[in-house]
């Protein structure tokens, strides 16, 4: 299946991408997608303990299952306000 990945703030700077499209096996979780990205962009590995994730613009857990066509976002710690 195919998903759109959105990366923000320093995750975008570290990978050089604000948006990516990646293939995943059916039933893959958000964590599997993150692990794939860490393989591809080792610089983001330190965020493993502090990222948040969203699926289709709603917060999601790392063990949430992804569907074909989903938009999955990875969010470093926030600093709005």
């Amino acid at each position: 299946m195919r998903v759109t990945v959105r990366l923000f703030a320093r995750l975008r700077d570290l990978t050089g991408f604000a948006e990516l499209v990646r293939e995943l096996p059916p039933g893959a979780t958000v964590r599997r997608l993150w692990d794939d990205l860490v393989q591809e962009f080792p610089a983001i590995a330190p965020y493993g303990g502090s990222i948040s994730a969203a699926v289709n613009a709603d917060y999601a857990r790392m063990n949430a299952a992804i569907q074909d066509g989903d938009e999955v976002a990875f969010l470093p710690p926030v600093s709005g306000g």
């Binding site: 923000f8 703030a9 969010l75 710690p77 926030v78 600093s79 709005g80 306000g81």
Partner: protein, 164 residues
């Protein structure tokens, strides 16, 4: 055009306009407003000993708006008579300019103050918004809270700061 209560955009903020919009919003209670509390966050010229030149904010906009909706719903659950407005600016913001404006209207002042304070605490905890600080010798992304709207301890801390 009516002013939306929850919004993100690149234009300068106007807390008075937001307060007026919150006051004008449909009231669910039959009691009229007696109190309006507002909060405005301004870009400061110093942070962690650095001389800041300006900030650039970015947001994951659809999730940020949903986060504001969540915060407004949480506040309505706790302070049923208070209504909230939250506007966050993104893009480049100069020193002394506002990055966020929050307004809360309620029949009584206790709820208006509490909802307003709660909202800024929760925005800082869960809104997917980031600021990059441009200082005299470089720039850096500021990273604060790990965003988790389900984190009960964080919500308790926001309630505590709201004096609830």
């Amino acid at each position: 055009m009516p002013c939306p209560l929850l919004a993100i955009g690149a234009i300068p903020l106007d807390a008075g306009m937001l307060a007026a919009a919150v006051q004008a919003a449909a009231r669910t209670a039959d009691a009229s407003d007696g109190a309006v509390a507002t909060f405005v966050g301004l870009v400061r010229d110093r942070n962690l000993g650095r001389t800041v030149q300006y900030l650039v904010y970015e947001a994951y906009e659809p999730l940020a708006i949903r986060s504001f909706e969540r915060i407004a719903a949480e506040a309505a659950e706790r302070w049923a008579s208070a209504r909230l407005g939250i506007h966050h600016r993104i893009g480049r913001i100069e020193i002394g300019e506002a990055s966020i404006a929050i307004a809360s209207a309620s029949p009584h002042r206790g709820e208006a103050f509490a909802a307003c304070r709660y909202a800024i605490e929760r925005v800082k905890q869960i809104a997917p918004i980031w600021k990059k600080e441009y200082f005299d010798t470089g720039d850096v992304w500021i990273e604060g809270a790990v965003a988790d709207p389900q984190d009960a301890a964080a919500r308790q801390e926001a309630l505590r700061r709201a004096c609830a």
